[in-house]
Assembly symmetry: D3
Homo-oligomer: 241 residues x 6
């Protein structure tokens, strides 16, 4: 069995570091580092909702995703300069938004919005799953601000959410692929789970050859292990560990 | 156990109809009907490739997806008029493209492109999976044209691909959700498989509450049944049944 | 005198087929086929009007036009992907809208809109005139729905409208040019008339050499003949023939 | 019979003034004034052609049209700021381009382009027809520059083109409508003719009620009178009168 | 010391001509000519303000800048056609707006807007400073209209503003550079001043080598001389000289 | 004399921190912190140049500027999502590019580009001047990489550049305004200088009332002091202090 580039065991996460209050202005501001992947997640509260929710009493949680042009090995064109967000960007930010909404009681949030901006400062694989894991912590902080200010009586969060990537690399299922592994993987899967062990999102893609049912099963097992550890890290960072 | 709106069994597909040569000009032109969902899939061959493939000797297969403004219950704004394709559209057309490329030997295709346009004339749930199933047939037809014209010696297709949606509706796993079911489903999953029983893409999303592992397993079983039947229909339509 | 490609007499229309209720959701949905040209015309009613009509008590009828990318011999770029509608598209949809409004009492329609989407599934010349002829039938159906629902007491339509192309091909005036004829025509004219024999729109363009007054006269005579027959087909399709 | 706002006879043009060399840099630069309508037409020669003409040996003549934001009674949004040219603008510039190309031998022009920019400084009806009439003079000047420079041996122009609007106002056919008349007209027609009395473009639109054949005939007669006079003015301005 | 292209003294302005009421519809319409640079400045009053000023009782003065495609030696692409205003355009129109607002009491203007459109008909250097100088006169005229109509009791203008460019050309500081001088200048500075001798804007850029403090001082002296003369011309044009 | 919010002397900079190699992939990557303003400046080398420089043997240095949506007190819309960069963004990135090019011999750089991305992670006034100061250090690092790799023999940099803001706040000239000061300042000036004491760019704007010549002089004196200190910090960071 081929050794992983960083020498990790197949079921081993990269080192995770979660830094709260990374910037000053946002209600929640979290820098999450998973190995060399670094994403700044800020949560902004606004006392308004998108048109389709006006006068419904319900709130909204959404996400935007961006990558600094030189977060990657070669420079990518700045999306603001090209005039539109690419399909990959839109796909990722829709995923992050859905993942977060899965643990929020939008009625309890009231007619206000929380926007989570996930900006990748440095990319080394797994930016979308790191974004979800970091965004959850930023969301908790933003909601705490609302509770402290007396805007909300209780937190409208009814669960905890984290995400990780798994894949088949060099013929074996591995957890938390870095960029080098991801580029060679035959199958790549992003998994989002809550703290009850339920699946919120499963997105698997065969890159090389189609994957079999038993491979899928092993990948989901690995993901569950990784997400459990990530959720522990989230709680630690929040001082609830 | 609650009965499905159309009276179908949980593991029953909607009636499928595949009409080849629906329009005249395209190298492949297929109208696929899955119940009331109707998608026109045309395959266009062009003797050029995107910039990143120039002078590599490799070809490209890609897809574009669109929905006529009144394919749905209420009219949607025309994307050409709003000036951009929405995130959902981009996400779907990326999915269709990946699914098709999974069964094509791009080197054997040579430095040319096949673009599959999937335009939804009428929507009743499952438009992205119907698009994949129909697009495969259009792709076979387009490739046959290349073989007949002597451009290619053999077909560069090395597999067959089809897709279906499954979900948890009224507490039970069901196959091939129509719009009414989809709107009420707690979990929605799109599955793309090849004819060897391998998974090409699995995308599951919890709409209401997170889904459990055993639910995921049942959904994948249902998907495998449905996709087997859809692949039989594809072969029938192609006169290979 | 050179024979027309399809063997038609100079004053002979291509076979016309008008299929109502082609799709389910729209208030009016008509597939019109003029030879190999096929356009899907759907009429959508919305209980709102553009800004300039708000609080005037007047309604609006407008049109949008699109062509599926592979409706033609070679694939055209999808306008939604290029990010804007081309000049030809805008010109055509403005023409369709004006033609329809010429037979609608907008005050009687009340403060609501009918949008007619004309989407070309297959193109073989005359798509803009086929769109007008089909759109009228879809508009009648949509208005009937409003009457049946009790929203309107009477139809706000005060006339019938149809359109046809005429041109000078191989030196002779001919009716209803197909794509091959159109590409070779020296003069091309689109004519829109009502059922009282009045002109709503006349658009003639010299492609090769300028046309003389007597040629214009002959073309208008041909157009009147063709439009009379098209209006008979509209009435037949509507069960009023 | 109601008198026209400016006291003109029904077949009377507004005063026309054509000023050549209005600006310095362009190969042709003409200010045309038709009553209070003032359009600056500049012709720019470029030694390149659009992609579809490359290596064909053929040249291109095209037009762009714009209106200064406050050329009209109330300020219009600047198209550069809104991010796109409206349908009316595109329609007009396509018309101007076609009209000019009708008198140019593109093969004799050689593989180069002439772009005519028609910018309306002040609008009082008839801006598109004034643009065509002025653009022709600018084109002659630009072509002369090419001949003087020895780039071309002879002028590739094989005819003269001018345009005018006619319409039915207060029940009577009138020539060259100003803004006030145009706003009240029942029918509005733009006519483009060459100096051989041939029609290059006829675009008639019923605004109020449909127009009858005899009305169309009278309008075309008026247009022929007006265009004859405009062509005389063009020749005068060019010193060929 | 090298002589300037036009034979001007280092501290000599080009001939200035200010023509009021150049077009009919705008509340203020001024053609300013500084040598061969010609800019049409129109001021349009609208009884509304941008969103951020609604219900504040304060008004707004803003500017838009454009250049006709062939105002320059070679044709530039029309910004309306490219779909966006370039960085240079936005920078210039922001500068013009700031310069004008520096002499307006926005509270006294009341909740209405004045938009100054500065459209360059012919460019020969110094278009942004000519725009400011001309725009001031157009603004005075527009405000006078409001006073004459009784909308405002007094003019909300509390100062006069004009602008000029200065630069180091051929080693010497010169006033009011034309295009040929500007293209060769080592340093280019735009200066906006009010009639009290105060600076409203100073923008200096080293093109070739960095400029020294004493050079900056000389440039500002030259600018003060030029602006004094331009302000005299403004008053003359306004009949207050 | 009123005390500054942070208790600084009028001629005192905020604490400056320059961290090199802040991210891994870019040839130069610098985090600059000026008080609470934090900008990440990455320099990316590409072996190509914009079209206007192709085959000239000359290189290019350019900059792009962005602000994370929640770098500020309230969230700004993401420019990638609005579909264009605003005027302020374009103005700033043009300024940064000009400032850097002033110290680069583009011929010595050879036909390649260096793009400096300045992304504001947290904003507290002076983001554009901090960007220039940080970008210079990133540029030095990128150029060093080219020298180390043997691509260039010597550094094409012939000077050092830094920038600072100065302004008149509470009636007194002050150095390096933070956001709170900037919002209240009557005059705001950005100054860019090289290490020879020459001015590269001077941009002063009167916000409240026009500034006098002696005020301008005092501001430039302050700027020279600040920039001298910033250049010392740059050298220290580069290990050349």
């Amino acid at each position: 069995m081929k050794a992983r580039p960083g020498g990790r065991a197949p079921d081993e996460l990269r080192p995770v570091r979660i830094t709260r209050r990374f910037t000053r202005h946002a209600e929640g501001s979290v820098l999450i580092e998973c190995g060399d992947t670094r994403v700044l997640c800020t949560a902004s509260v606004e006392e308004s909702v998108p048109g389709f929710l006006r006068n419904t009493g319900r709130g909204w949680v959404t996400a935007e995703y961006g990558m600094l042009p030189r977060a990657t090995h070669t420079r990518n064109r700045r999306e603001a300069a090209t005039g539109k967000q690419g399909g990959r960007t839109l796909e990722i930010q829709r995923l992050i938004g859905r993942a977060l909404r899965a643990v929020v009681d939008l009625k309890a949030l009231g007619e206000r919005s929380v926007t989570i901006d996930c900006d990748v400062l440095q990319a080394d694989g797994g930016t979308r799953t790191a974004s979800i894991t970091g965004a959850y912590v930023a969301l908790v902080d933003a909601v705490e601000v609302l509770v402290r200010r007396g805007v909300l009586r209780d937190s409208p969060l009814h669960g905890q959410v984290a995400a990780v990537s798994v894949g088949i690399w060099a013929g074996q299922p591995v957890l938390d692929l870095d960029y080098a592994e991801d580029a060679e993987a035959e199958t790549d899967m992003n998994v989002v789970m809550n703290n009850g062990g339920g699946f919120i999102e499963v997105q698997g893609t065969a890159e090389g050859h189609a994957f079999r049912r038993h491979e899928l099963d092993e990948l989901l097992n690995l993901a569950a292990i990784g997400i459990g550890q990530l959720q522990a890290r989230q709680l630690e960072a929040l001082g609830q560990g």
